[in-house]
Symmetry: C2
Subunit: 367 residues, 2 copies
């Protein structure tokens, strides 16, 4: 691993594969396990960097696909790179654009060279290859950058998934060759769909490459939750223990708890901000619709145990009023709370692992 | 004036009628002249109270009409009153609903008793009278409450305006009789349309009532800017000098400067937040559309002389990117900047008055 990055394991759970650690990056440490908020277009929707810091956020994710289309990586670099451009001085990660090209773009065409698609902004044809994705990510300047992968849909035949997984490996080799900055860590992504043997093969092959970190991708794309758990339980333990493990796109309590018990360290998910914009709060594992009549005259904070700005200053009745009035401030307050809550959940798990209470205290999430 | 309120004049301009003072309220002082941000539905749109405090905001306005419809004044009172409900511990003012009933509601019917209109929320018929407006404002609990007035449209005949002005006076007497809280100051509103003699008569009649403060209403309702200036120059000097003077709904540099030169102390306007939501910044008296191509690669802050959170942390290019992407954070950052800018303008005028430099330093706004 580059001198700029290291992962230190502080404690291992005696009953599960969970571990508490620290992932060191050029922009500071990430205490693991930890949830990462998503800042798609170089901002976490409705939240300022100052507010984001107060949620306990350490590493923040941003999206290569979106930033390439708007404002373009050249403008981000002109503004001093992603950290300075968006005012976030902590650790950052960019995904490769692979998932978005497959899930969002129109008229895409996949060849061995890469993916061609039509820009939803201006209709022009754009080509993304492993080399181009890494070049864009090198220009954006996040601490962690992700390999360009082919994410097969669910359902897909074994043959299709096998082909995508093998291509993902070949593309990873090209990403490694193209990567130019020692102050950025390139993580590989394990694909393999719901086929556990393909996942295992991919994980073992990637582990050989001695990358600074590894991700499990292509989960939560429509498959049943039991399969997500199986994939993670099968795959995470095969990744090198001395490197951070990142489960992409997962952010529910149960999925995170199970993944942590399998040895996963970091997570990202749009759930806390997306639900916020629908007027939904995440409270102690429940999902509350603030438009519900029972909140109209409920003057308690969202969560009395929560130290976030929203819970310290406002009542459920007030936030319910803002949601009913479609006031944008509602989405800011709910985003602040929801992000704080998911980070707090992973922080509590971290503390439990450090004193080896995880398997008992979080048993109800691990069934 | 109630013991809870007082206005202290600290300095008078030697060449104009401008004055610098302090208006004391139960929730703290308001240094005048000063711009007040508008928090229609118990929040300044897209801005948290913590961010609002950092703009230099002292007194904040909220709307009786809107709050009566949603969430209802009973819920605001249940939440501890307007200050606690919305998390703003500084001075607050509620308007009476008069202006909104006339400008926003459908199927309104005006009688001597009051105004009947159809709720845009649920279609039910609502009656607002001077007594009811004061009762609602007593329940909401702002520091300053406004008399329920009839605001004639522009244009309107002299006869129509005369009738509305006289009714406004009779309604004011009923407001005074209905008002019940000594910790709230009831301000009277001078109407009279563009008829300067009607304005003068109204101002002199209101002055007799020895109210804790006075407003000039019914301006900027469509009449040419020269007429606004004439109305204010004619009317403000007739109001008692020992009481604060509030020009309602005005927030452009030139209009505020001219009004201050006529002896006005406080202003409110939705411009800074409304323009922000259209991607527009107010910079040194100019109006900038951040979608303009020239901002795409402009890495300077909006205003290098501005100390607001947006200017201290982000570039024009970044905010332009957020506006192009329709990211809500753009509206938050622009609202913070625009409010800060208008408050800063009135603060700079205040400092100029205190050292008697106003008439010379702000001469270009006073033509």
């Amino acid at each position: 691993m580059s001198a700029n990055f290291s992962f230190q394991c502080l404690a291992c759970c005696s009953k599960t594969k969970a571990r508490a650690g620290v992932f060191f990056t050029p922009h500071g440490p990430v205490e693991t396990p930890r949830f990462m908020p998503v800042g798609t277009l170089a901002n976490v929707k409705t939240v300022t960097p100052a507010q984001l810091k107060d949620t306990g956020a350490q590493m923040v994710l941003s999206n290569t696909y979106h930033l390439h289309l708007q404002p373009g990586e050249g403008i981000v670099a002109g503004g001093g790179g992603l950290h300075k451009f968006m005012g976030w001085n902590g650790p950052m990660l960019t995904d490769s654009g692979g998932f978005q090209v497959f899930s969002l773009s129109e008229m895409r065409k996949i060849t061995e060279e890469g993916v061609t698609f039509r820009s939803p902004h201006d209709g022009q044809i754009i080509k993304l290859t492993p080399e181009r994705s890494i070049e864009i990510q090198n220009t954006l300047g996040a601490d962690v950058i992700m390999a360009f992968d082919e994410c097969p849909p669910y359902p897909a035949t074994r043959q299709e998934v096998e082909a995508a997984t093998e291509r993902t490996y070949r593309w990873l080799e090209r990403c490694i060759a193209a990567h130019k900055r020692s102050d950025q860590a390139l993580f590989g992504i394990v694909q393999g769909g719901v086929y556990l043997d393909l996942r295992s093969q991919a994980a073992l092959a990637l582990a050989e490459l001695d990358l600074p970190g590894y991700a499990i991708g292509g989960v939560s794309v429509g498959e049943p939750p039991e399969l997500v758990a199986q994939i993670v339980q099968n795959t995470a333990p095969l990744l090198p223990p001395e490197k951070p493990r990142y489960l992409m796109g997962v952010g529910t309590y149960k999925e995170m708890a199970i993944a942590i018990a399998s040895g996963v360290d970091v997570f990202d998910c749009v759930i806390p901000t997306r639900w916020a914009r629908h007027g939904t709060a995440i409270v102690q594992g429940e999902r509350w619709n603030l438009k519900n009549a029972k909140f109209r005259e409920d003057f308690a904070p969202l969560d009395e145990t929560c130290t976030c700005y929203a819970c310290q200053n406002f009542s459920r009745a007030y936030i319910s009023h803002l949601v009913r009035s479609q006031e944008i401030l509602a989405y800011t307050l709910l985003s602040i709370h929801n992000i704080t809550e998911l980070i707090r959940f992973t922080q509590r798990i971290r503390e439990a692992i450090l004193s080896d209470r995880f398997a008992t205290e979080f048993a109800h999430w691990l069934d």
